[in-house]
Amino acid sequence: MASRNKVVAMILAGGKGTRLESLTKKTAKPAVSFAAKYRIIDFPLSNCANTGINVVGVLMQYESTELDSYIGNGEKWGLNGVHCLMSTLAPRQTEQGANWYKGTADAITQNIDFLDNADPEYVVILSGDHIYKTSYTDMINLHEQTGADVTISVIEVDPSEASRFGIMVVNEKDEIINFQEKPKNPISNLASMGVYVFTWKTLRKYLLADDKDPNSEHDFGKNIIPNLLKDKKKLQAYRFKGYWRDVGTLKSLHEANMDIALDKKELNLYDGDMSNRIYTEDVYSVPQYVGKKGSITRSIANQGAIILGNVDSSVISTGVTIESDAKVTRCVVMENSIIKKGARVHNAIIAPNSVIEENSEINVNGDEVVLINTAKK
């Protein structure tokens, strides 16, 4: 792999995440909690750390304060070492005026100075709301070996779902020859994961050109990639194997949580591989306690949880209390929520700091996932 400081990662974490409804009312999507202990952005950040990428910029806009203080100096992911630079990049006032980020590409364009200072050979563009465990080393190596201008991580999807994604058409060398954004009639099943390795010189040129284009939406998928393709630049596909989920909707967020609770092993947090762990904030609470009449099966639970009732197929986060005789099934209970005595909850995401009242029944026979948020903020 290229020398580590030749690679800079930029994580796009500015979106509002409207489809997560009130979970993102006061919280940026990448800061939403996941799998009892983590926040979504822990995954790309840990992947960067485990790849040995030392310089990471996180681009933020919506509700940036909480995310900014969570990321801090990068210490939680070990990104505060002597060769590291962890920077949170929110829109700011400059000589050219004050602008919000107009699109994913514009967010990078507005931070060209940050990248110029780091002077990388390659820039890895990542999304702050994907759940996967990987090292980007192979992808960067492929990019370097093929001498591509951009390498795009792709994953095979079910043809019936292909119309939800940006679809890549490749030749026998896995070079991208065509691209369809959310097509009605997809001609390939290779979906872009929104994970790119760019040669910085090329990207810089295209960003500056895009900035001057009045008709552009300043978006990687809609503008930068099609422009590169039009100019016959070298676009390489990298075939990603393994577990990868975009958790942009309540349903997909719930599903990805269930994958871990039900120990499907596709995203294995228990493989004991010390070089590929997911790092996060630690909380100072006692280990979880399961009471004399409590029970918990097919679930994960984090320290600080108190389980006095019955839990099955669920995710129980830090500081959650499940009172006696409560029954919680297929739920994602986020931090510090309380499920009171005798309550029955099924197929639900319980937002942080919520309270489910005594003996209440929520979605007991429901097939659709519901979101319950009683928190004050």
Binding site: D263, I278, P287, Y289, V290, K292
Partner: protein, 371 residues
């Protein structure tokens, strides 16, 4: 404002047999998540004492491994710090490896530490103790030393061989060994507030009294010989003494009771400890867990009752663990039945199917054993 330092004194740790054979008590696992030393270091931290020295007698590697850079306990990592002090000469000369000689070697080899008052505390009495009001009272009183004690009603069973105080008008008049003759007793927690001048005097005088004396011995001597006036301060909070293997096991399991637990763990008084980046605990479809602590990273597929399960432990299907304490990274294999067992870390129970002790006679499995 006076400069206050914390001195965490590991020189007088009790021996707990097998489980402290290869590690200092301070680094012993507690409740599946903590090290014993976390309580004293967190008490310093929560009392805003940010300069802390740990007097290490042995096993410095284990202590270093547990507390790391010390940043997890420190408020400001530039102005605050946790330093480990060890008397290298003492290592080869065990009887002389005392806390006083440790401090003396620091004074001789470097400069004396920079402070006005020191809070000296051991780790074998677990509590959530706010030192601030005690230090304040000490400074106002003008006494040479303030010694913190707890009043107990079960001194016939607990705190055997600890120091028992006779107190008159807030002054310690006599310090004797608790031999369990009475139930009611005021027991020294070996925790002192002391000025730099007095601590220097103790270090200097000890050479004339006995080279083998510890700070505790010197304080007791000074009380009994009426050399210095020692203030008594009663700590009214909950104290858990860890003086023997039985203490360790019974008091750990007592904490499964919520009412006991909420006396030790107070709101707004976090106990800091090192993080290991382990995933949440995972429960399989046949898991049966009752009245137990489960630490992160544990995988539970069998039955666990009245037990403490540490980080990265695996309890396989059809295994059952009762009234037991299982340390880090231990595997309890399929069909194994454990009752009243303490498994040290990295143990693999794969062949043995039945390990049954009693509450008086707990079976202890040594670190790394494969049975």
């Amino acid at each position: 404002m006076s400069k206050i330092i914390g001195i965490c004194n590991l020189h007088n740790e009790p021996h707990l047999g097998e489980i402290t054979k290869n590690r200092p008590l301070a680094a012993l696992s507690f409740l599946g998540r903590y090290g014993i030393i976390d309580f004293t270091l967190s008490n310093f931290s929560n009392s805003h004492i940010d300069k802390v020295y740990v007097l290490v007698r042995k096993g410095i590697v284990g202590i270093r491994k547990h507390i790391g850079s010390g940043a997890i306990y420190t408020n400001n990592t530039k102005t605050g710090s946790i330093e480990l002090l060890i008397n290298e000469k003492g290592l080869s000369n065990k009887p002389f490896n005392t806390d006083i000689n440790n401090l003396r070697s620091v004074i001789n080899e470097q400069d004396d530490l920079d402070y006005d008052y020191a809070v000296i505390a051991p780790t074998h009495f677990l509590s959530s103790m706010d030192f601030r009001p005690i230090v304040k009272q000490h400074i106002e009183s003008g006494a040479a030393i303030t010694s913190i004690y707890t009043h107990v009603s079960d001194a016939n069973r607990e705190y055997i061989n600890c120091r028992k105080y006779k107190i008159e008008n807030g002054i310690v008049k006599e310090s004797t060994r608790n031999v369990g003759r009475t139930n009611e007793a005021d027991i020294s927690l070996e925790t002192y507030i002391i000025s730099k001048k007095t601590l220097r005097k103790i270090i200097a005088d000890s050479q004339k009294v006995s080279e083998l004396y510890s700070i505790n011995d010197m304080v007791n001597y000074m009380i009994n010989e009426s050399i210095l006036e020692v203030n008594a301060y009663e700590f009214k909070g909950y104290v858990i003494p860890i003086l023997s293997m039985e203490d360790y096991i019974n008091h750990s399991l007592d904490l499964l009771n919520y009412h006991v637990r909420s006396k030790l763990f107070l709101p707004d008084w976090p106990i800091y400890t090192t993080t290991h980046n382990t995933a949440p605990a995972l429960y399989g479809k046949d898991a049966e867990v009752q009245n137990s602590f489960i630490a992160n990273g544990a995988i539970i597929k069998g039955k666990v009752t009245n037990s403490i399960i540490s980080r990265d432990v695996v309890i396989e299907k059809n295994a059952s663990v009762n009234n037991s304490i299982i340390f880090t990274k231990t595997l309890i294999g399929k069909e194994a039945k454990l009752d009243h067992v303490l498994c040290d870390k990295n143990v693999k129970i794969v062949h043995a199917k039945r390990l049954v002790g009693t509450s008086e006679d707990v079976i202890v499995i040594s670190q790394g054993a494969n049975i």
